[in-house]
């Protein structure tokens, strides 16, 4: 799991360095983490399954063995988290 918050002060972390494993080139800077990376691993899995299921909440409900409104509520919570992160 990619760390997204500072373990010391809980501030959101940024990407400082990226490295090419092939030629060992390093790109340094100060890049924002993608919004999806800021979600918990469970939420990221949910988003991934949601996309794989073509955005069908019914199929998601069937796959997760949960009711339709429960899955819709889970999606709404993720949407709210994303909106909060975007602010």
């Amino acid at each position: 799991m990619l760390p997204t918050y500072c373990p010391s002060c809980q501030t959101q972390l940024k990407v400082k360095c990226l490295k090419c494993e092939s030629c060992q080139t390093e790109v340094s800077g100060l890049y924002d983490l993608p919004t999806l990376a800021l979600l918990s691993s469970e939420d990221q899995q949910f988003v991934l399954r949601f996309v794989i299921n073509s955005g069908s909440l019914k199929e998601m409900a069937s796959e997760l063995k949960l009711s339709y409104p429960t899955v819709r509520n889970m999606l709404n919570e993720i949407i709210n988290k994303i909106k909060t992160h975007e602010k």
Partner: protein, 190 residues
């Protein structure tokens, strides 16, 4: 399945079942409650009410249950429109119908209850304390009603995707209104 999971499902089955499935299962249980209640003389004459009667016809038993469910669903749907951004009517209908399931236990318990004669109760109300089965049914009705109310609360919570104080206040008001409506309709029509 762990006991914690079973308990969780007992108080909130709507994480697993809602919509048409909940409606189908709920209707089967409600019909069983109506049939059993007729034979055991247990009338569900209010959204969260039950009373032992001397006589109860199939017609009245099912009319009471139908009025209960329609009142509950109607008020909870209006509540949903007020406090929720979006929900499906079938979820409210299905989950609220299934939330009436615990009353089947009271309908069954009614078989084993000796109801004191109403004329004798009118003469001496304390006569009810002489019937042990009546006291047991009365005591049993408390946790069963609490269970049903918890189910109704979770039905609204899951169907409308709301939580917190807003949900609690809206639910209490809605439940009281639906109870009053069901009582008035039963009194006026039957």
């Amino acid at each position: 399945m762990k006991s914690k999971e079973i308990f969780s499902l007992m108080i909130n089955p709507f994480t697993r079942i809602a919509g048409w499935h909940a409606l189908g299962l709920g209707l089967v249980i409600v019909v069983l409650t109506g049939i059993t209640g007729t034979f055991s003389h247990v009338a569900f004459d209010g959204v969260i009410d039950m009373h032992l009667t001397q006589e109860l016809t199939f017609g009245h038993s099912f009319e009471f249950l139908a009025i209960d469910i329609v009142s509950l669903v109607l008020v909870m749907t209006i509540t949903g429109f007020i406090i929720s951004k979006g929900f499906r009517f079938i979820d409210i209908l299905g989950t609220m119908t299934l939330a009436k399931a615990p009353y089947l236990i009271l309908a069954i318990a009614g078989y084993f209850t000796a109801s004191p004669d109403i004329n004798e109760i009118m003469k001496n109300p304390f006569i009810v304390f002489q019937s042990v089965s009546f006291i047991i049914l009365t005591l049993l009705s408390v946790p069963i009603t609490i269970w049903a109310i918890i189910l109704m609360f979770n039905a609204l919570k899951t169907s409308c995707g709301i939580k917190g104080g807003k949900l609690a206040i809206a639910f209490i008001i809605a439940l009281l209104i639906s109870e009053v409506i069901s009582k008035i309709v039963i009194y006026k029509l039957i």
